[in-house]
């Protein structure tokens, strides 16, 4: 089978290779990394008939411009509402199309969302670190960030004509702007007035937003002399409050330990959508219990599994598509 080759004509900052991430190494200072929006990432792969942990390109709001130098390959674009332009024709994301030698592919942010996922039918050739291509942005370890002039190689590239067209979006996502949190683990370091302020207030994302985390803007939280706590483990979703009282939500490339108290932790089911918000988008945290959090995680996992299974079916010819979509809607309703 043939390869497809692309040249990067332009890549914004934080456009990186990502697979599902390297879990299990936080004890060595290594966060899992991987996609900021794991569901959109898995959807791009599933819809294209790829393994759901295959390497993709995560595209920031800086955008990406590629020229196909040789071969042809089908691609999928998911994630935030980004636009895809192929040889001058623009269409919204959540779509599969085929790119061949001589064509230019441009991906730019549209009306909403911070991260898009570009999957290729075939095997993206990347550097790996500890068995994964997921890029740890601060070190550059893993597949790394894309830069202008660099070539992208897809081995055993395939054309998936039977999969071209729009990708069904997930319909089970929670309301945006209301990430659910479990209080703690250090909420006892905050006065009850500060805890109430945190729960009742509206915050906004600031421009200080990268793969490590995002600083929020909003009411400052008073720490009751908690800046002297010993450094301790933190995870994706931890909301840590620095000495200036400003909360920061930790994301995919977070530090693995830190000495700032964590007032609350965003549940994993809500982190994908949280990461897709943009600077100045506003939000209010919704408090839930640990048991509710576990039950949400279980419901979400079942919904994700059903959804990925559904979109992984090839669409087939037009008559086949019509018949199957009738059947699917018949089952759902």
């Amino acid at each position: 089978m043939a390869d497809a080759r692309f040249r990067v004509q332009f890549a914004g900052p934080l456009v990186t290779y990502q697979d599902a991430g390297r879990r299990g190494l936080m004890r060595f200072g290594v966060p899992a990394s991987g996609p900021m929006d794991r569901l959109s990432y898995a959807a791009a792969n599933a819809a294209l008939g790829q393994p759901t942990d295959a390497t993709t390109i995560e595209i920031s709001m800086g955008g990406l411009l590629l020229e196909c130098l040789e071969g042809e390959v089908s691609i999928a674009l998911t994630g935030g509402e980004f636009n895809l332009t192929l040889d001058g024709t623009t269409q919204p994301g959540w779509t599969i199309c085929t790119v061949s030698a001589g064509q230019k592919l441009s991906i730019r942010p549209g009306p909403s969302g911070s991260w898009a996922y570009l999957a290729f039918a075939g095997n993206l050739v990347t550097d790996q670190w500890l068995g994964h291509s997921a890029t740890h942005s601060t070190s550059g370890f893993g597949g790394g960030a894309l830069a202008s002039g660099q070539d992208i190689v897809v081995r055993e590239s395939k054309v998936r004509e039977e999969r071209e067209g729009p990708i069904q979006r997930p319909d089970f996502l929670p309301a945006p702007g209301a990430p659910r949190v479990v209080m703690g683990p250090q909420n006892h370091h905050f006065s009850s007035a500060s805890q109430e302020l945190f729960q009742m207030s509206t915050y906004a994302l600031s421009d200080a937003f990268d793969r490590m985390g995002v600083r929020l803007e909003g009411p400052k939280l008073d720490l009751e002399g908690a800046l002297s706590i010993p450094s301790e483990p933190v995870c994706k979703g931890s909301i840590q409050v620095a000495g200036d009282g400003v909360p920061t939500v930790l994301l995919a490339d977070h530090q693995t330990t830190g000495g700032y108290p964590k007032i609350a932790t965003v549940i994993s089911a809500d982190l994908d959508q949280f990461a897709q918000m943009r600077a100045r988008d506003s939000l209010a945290f919704t408090l839930i219990s640990p048991d509710e959090a576990v039950s949400i995680a279980r419901n979400r996992a079942a919904a994700v599994e059903r959804y990925l299974e559904a979109i992984s079916q090839a669409r087939g010819t037009l008559p086949q598509r019509l018949m199957r979509e009738n059947l699917i809607s018949g089952v759902v309703s």
Binding site: G24, V30, S139, G184, S231, I267, S268, P290, D291
Partner: protein
């Protein structure tokens, strides 16, 4: 919500983790209890365990919420604690080589001045101590070594210095660290090591485990130059 002051304290974290805390402040005894529990969990991992992150006074137990939950995990950990009385005998001692030449140790003079000692006395003090890997953090392979002698303990600088080379040996307060990446730091830079902490070895990608002992060995410039690959990172083509 008032925190319970009875230790060990179990605190749920989101939908997928439990923080097990042995104390609010650092001591050797507490570090030993953290390590003993870490080893006990590793010897008989509860169902649904994803990973354990040991730190100075507590451990994060990350689990799969599809398999278990906070209360089941808490009771399994509680059952392990009485058995977690001793730390494994396979604690290793590692020798880390370092060169104190002036251009590799830009803050050695300032440390000597602040401590009221000669630079050679600071070096002797740094070399005489035995260090313990307390935890990792900040960046891949950043192992926080405790045990810096009180005579040379200094606070962090007011302003961090940018682009400090990988391999720098830095100190702040009771902690010492051998950096693995070129990063900013506010700690004092007292030497540079050619010893690779991030290793290109899939079976042992990091030189230290939490709890291991580290001793430093002084080397001259010739040996440093011979050993220093200038590449602490362990990136391989896959």
């Amino acid at each position: 919500m008032k925190a319970s002051h009875i230790f060990p304290r179990f605190v749920p974290v989101a939908d997928h983790a439990l923080l097990v805390e042995f104390a609010d402040s650092i001591s050797d005894d507490i570090a030993n209890r953290v390590l003993a529990l870490d080893h006990a969990i590793s010897a008989s991992p509860p169902d649904g365990l994803c990973e354990v992150v040991p730190a100075l006074v507590n451990l994060l137990i990350d689990f799969d919420p599809l398999v278990t939950d906070h209360s089941i995990m808490q009771s399994e950990i509680e059952a392990l604690i009485p058995r977690a009385s001793a730390i494994d005998s396979n604690i290793q001692t590692h020798e880390v080589e370092l060169c104190y030449d002036a251009d590799l140790a830009p803050d050695l003079g300032a440390v000597a001045h602040a401590a009221g000692m000669s630079e050679e006395a600071v070096i002797a003090c740094h070399l005489s101590a035995s260090y313990r890997v307390g935890m990792y953090g900040f960046a891949p392979g950043y192992a926080y070594l405790t045990g810096v002698s009180e005579q040379i303990q200094l606070p962090r600088k007011q302003v961090a210095v940018r682009d400090v080379p990988a391999g720098s040996v830095i100190i702040a307060g009771p902690q010492c660290l051998v950096t693995t990446l070129t990063m900013p730091t506010g700690w004092s830079i007292i030497g540079r090591s050619p010893t690779e902490i991030l290793r290109n070895d899939p079976d042992r990608p990091f030189l230290f485990d939490v709890g291991d002992t580290v001793r430093f060995k002084r080397i001259d410039r010739n040996r440093f130059d011979a050993l220093n690959t200038g590449n602490q990172g362990a990136i391989s083509h896959g």
